[in-house]
Symmetry: C2
Subunit: 242 residues, 2 copies
């Protein structure tokens, strides 16, 4: 059937399977990126008609998650991979899971802000929301890039970027609380923006989670529960000792 040895044949097929599953994750990532971009347009530019698109994409994202997860299980059961490949497959499965939840948060943002919010948001909040949205879109783009190129440096910069998002988040929520205190009538509408902003912040956390999975996969160091500064110091020490 082929001029390859059986071993090479199996390992080539195995690599193809891994490649296939990785490219599916990137495809899924692309859809989630669009969900996020549209959800932000609903929130910041009042383009309510896009909310439907964000919701509709959810079904595709969900079925991709199930499909990729099953493919990962099958690969492990069939190929009995060694520890390194196993770590890659675990990272794929965890990344897929985070992406699905990023899609969920994007859906929440769109759902919360699709009702006309004219007059609720002043220019300051709108500018801050635009900025926060840009930061998070960039985080998602970067973390997918880090996944595609298994690039630790990019993953680390995603972890760092989440700090900026958290700062912006605190500023915006403070401002929204002030709006509610000054104008009680606006409370129900402002609360919707509040939930949307909260979802955005969580979305940033999930990008950070993916970045941490990538760092763990490459360096074999579990960074999930270490403080950021310690992580950065340890990565620098590892890179220097190489």
């Amino acid at each position: 059937m082929t001029d390859l040895h059986l071993g090479e044949h199996i390992s080539r097929r195995f690599n193809e399977e891994l490649e296939d599953v990785r490219s599916k994750v990137l495809h899924m990532g692309g859809i989630v990126e669009e969900q996020l971009a549209n959800a932000l347009k609903v929130l910041v530019n009042d383009e309510a008609e896009l909310a439907r698109d964000v919701m509709d994409a959810d079904a595709i994202v969900n079925s991709l998650e199930v499909e990729i997860d099953e493919e990962c299980t099958l690969i492990v059961a069939r190929r009995q991979p060694a520890a390194t490949d196993l770590r890659l497959i675990m990272t794929v499965s965890k990344t897929t899971n985070e992406l699905e939840r990023i899609g969920d948060e994007a859906k929440r943002v769109a759902k919360m802000s699709r009702k006309d919010m004219d007059g609720v948001l002043d220019d300051d909040v709108r500018a801050d929301l635009t900025h926060m949205g840009d930061l998070i879109r960039e985080m998602l783009r970067q973390v997918l890039d880090a996944f595609a190129r298994t690039d630790v440096d990019t993953a680390v910069s995603v972890v760092k970027a989440d700090r900026k998002v958290d700062k912006k988040y605190k500023k915006i929520t403070k401002h929204l609380i002030k709006l509610m205190v000054n104008d009680p009538e606006a409370v129900p509408a402002v609360m919707k923006i509040m939930w949307a902003v909260r979802s955005l912040e969580r979305l940033g956390d999930r990008c950070q989670n993916i970045a941490e999975h990538i760092i763990y996969m490459v360096l074999g160091m579990d960074v999930r529960h270490i403080k950021l500064d310690d992580v950065l110091a340890e990565i620098e020490a590892q890179v220097e000792s190489e």
Copy 2:
């Protein structure tokens, strides 16, 4: 060395390893249960001094997650398990991950509500919070029980219970919004309760996630993205055809 055949020996060791990892998950679950119980006392009974305990337990929960995850990877790499065992190990890893996040949400509840809230909550909200807390504690207890006994029926009743939690959640948030509209001065304090209640609701979702992982493990049916009624119908059909 032993009078067992090599195969039996390996499979006995394998079972012991699986048992060990399962009992670690239950140990972790016990700690998280206590975190939740204490967080609820901080929120509902103003026992602010317990907030410290909830935060302190976080470090133990985090390191248990890392430990269990590594043990799972090692077992897979060493034992090359067949599909069924693999599914069990994947469920262990996912359950551990959800438990860690349940601990995180409990921490958020405690943190948000540790400041003295005297006078902010009226008796109605307090009664509703107590009820919602009871429902969620019961969900967590049940889902750990379902995990320990690989019991699909109990897992299904956890999925059902989440509906009640969501209903209670909606009632409470509506009430809190009304409080803010009527008393703008109270907005900053009520917002803290709002975040705490949101975390409780998420905590219920995570119990439901674990229940779904258990159902998937036993019945091999991915229920994550199917509507609840369809899930229940399918489970009944499966049980009848057995």
